[in-house]
Symmetry: C2
């Protein structure tokens, strides 16, 4: 297979590089822990060369990148693209950086929705995953993580709007630095405690900053064992997110939710969605690379499939 471009999924905590063929297939994949936050003194070029200097020098292929690499803390700030957005509108809004005499890096813009009078929301990288995930028209995509995203795709497969939930960040802060974490023991997962937390969170989502306190009182009253507390809190937080999002977005019971992301997290969301009476499907792996292929085709970096 002849290499055509390098796909970079360069997020906050990791860097994944994939050499992609002219047919859009994966020739080779590599990854490194060198996320944007781990790059010191803005040595982005060195981090990139450390993972794939051979590809850059030998093939001279262009690079298509997405994720936090295009943020203010990244290599170069790629302005946000407003919703509704598609691979075609993104292809017209690439931020291009010449990284060597022969090689350009094209950064896919992150997306923005909302307004000054309501609130803005932003994402970087998730838009590419959705474009590569082969979702159906009129889908609701959920991408769990530090900052979970609920993304609404319309009948023309455009990303219409989305909403971020701080679920993963709150879990990390509360367990690592918070008072709730003091009573916790970390180890094996406890599915029963998770389901109990999720049921509570789903029920009291309108009182998020109150219901979180159950992770303290349930421990004080001996209702949840210290080893079950981390999953109990995880359940509460995901329950709160799911019920809040369903209420705010008017998601109906017959709409299928598409989960995109890490396996363990997707399992948790699957379970909570089920408790809320909703069905969900998992997107195929490798969505980011396929998203880059779609944007690269629209931008003419990669020849069209029919060509």
């Amino acid at each position: 297979m002849k290499p055509s471009f390098i796909s970079l999924d360069w997020g906050t905590s990791s860097l994944r590089a994939v050499l992609v063929s002219e047919e859009g297939a994966i020739i080779e994949a590599r990854s490194a822990p060198g996320g944007v936050m781990a790059v010191k003194d803005r040595q982005f070029q060195a981090s990139l060369y450390a993972i794939c200097s051979d590809w850059i020098e030998n093939c001279g292929c262009p690079i298509v990148a997405s994720g936090m690499i295009g943020s203010r803390q990244g290599w170069v700030e790629a302005p946000y693209l407003d919703c509704p957005a598609t691979p075609a509108t993104a292809a017209q809004a690439l931020t291009t950086l010449r990284i060597s005499e022969r090689v350009d890096m094209h950064i896919v813009p992150g997306l923005r929705c909302g307004s000054k009078t309501t609130m803005y929301d932003v994402m970087r990288g998730e838009e590419t995953q959705i474009w590569g995930a082969d979702v159906s028209p009129d889908s609701v995509c959920v991408l769990p993580g530090t900052h979970s995203k609920w993304v609404f795709v319309d009948e023309h497969l455009r990303i219409k709007r989305f909403a971020t939930y701080l679920t993963g960040e709150l879990y990390g802060l509360l367990t690592k630095h918070g008072i709730l974490g003091r009573l916790m023991e970390f180890g094996d997962s406890d599915r029963e405690a998770f389901a109990r937390g999720a049921t509570l969170g789903l029920k009291h989502s309108a009182q998020a900053s109150h219901v979180l306190f159950a992770a303290r009182t349930a421990a004080l009253m001996g209702e949840v064992h210290p080893a079950g507390l981390p999953d109990y809190l995880s359940g509460i937080l995901i329950g709160v997110e799911v019920a809040s999002a369903l209420a705010a977005e008017n998601v109906s019971g017959d709409q299928r939710i598409i989960l995109i992301g890490d396996d363990d997290l997707c399992c948790r969301y699957e379970e909570v969605l089920q408790l809320a009476g909703l069905k969900s499907d998992r997107a195929a792996d490798g969505a980011t690379v396929q998203g880059h292929v779609r944007v690269a085709r629209e931008a003419g970096i990669l020849a069209c499939e029919s060509a």
Copy 2:
């Protein structure tokens, strides 16, 4: 004035000792940073003697204490008293510890409400503040803090029930350890940013873990200056708390809210309550000591006023 008992307000982060006269008046007050969390190797007696060994040895007065000192991490665990609760029921449920040949320390029980099937809620120390704050029947008391409390007092001045909101803890975690804090500059307060955040939080309280993200996007879009972000987030969090509590508890517009606590925090809550269309009053200072006086009278530690 003749000393009659020592009032101890012994919380997580500070210890306040007051020598109280037979008439219930303050003879002398002292404070130390030696909160329960600062006491090493369970040296509670040494911490207590460091602040008032002279009172203990010279007067031989009993001690009445409340706060986290009665928690599992405190000196001795004082079992929770279930709601509805009054100074009289608390006086019958004191946990007494002999600390010297002549001196007993009586710990006021914390309160518990809720149930296994809903969720439990607990407090330690706030009950004593409320009993000393001279509140009117059928009041709603709000005690802002790390774990804010909304406390409902019935027509017989009993504490009927209450709810905890993690507002202060979330603010601390998000600003000190979270991603939102990275864009912030800390310094003078910014009342306009606070009011904007509060308006947003009040409006979107049912989506707490989403609306918090506005403290990131407003910064990214240049809507709020880095120096205004801490107050913007503070406004969002207090707005979320106030609107959630009002919705959950059916608080009507003609009900007055009584604010008890730290001056700066009470000002913030006053403003947010006003934005929500509610009036509030401040409780007088020194509520804890007066609460101890009431419990001590009911327990016969201090003679009744009429005696």
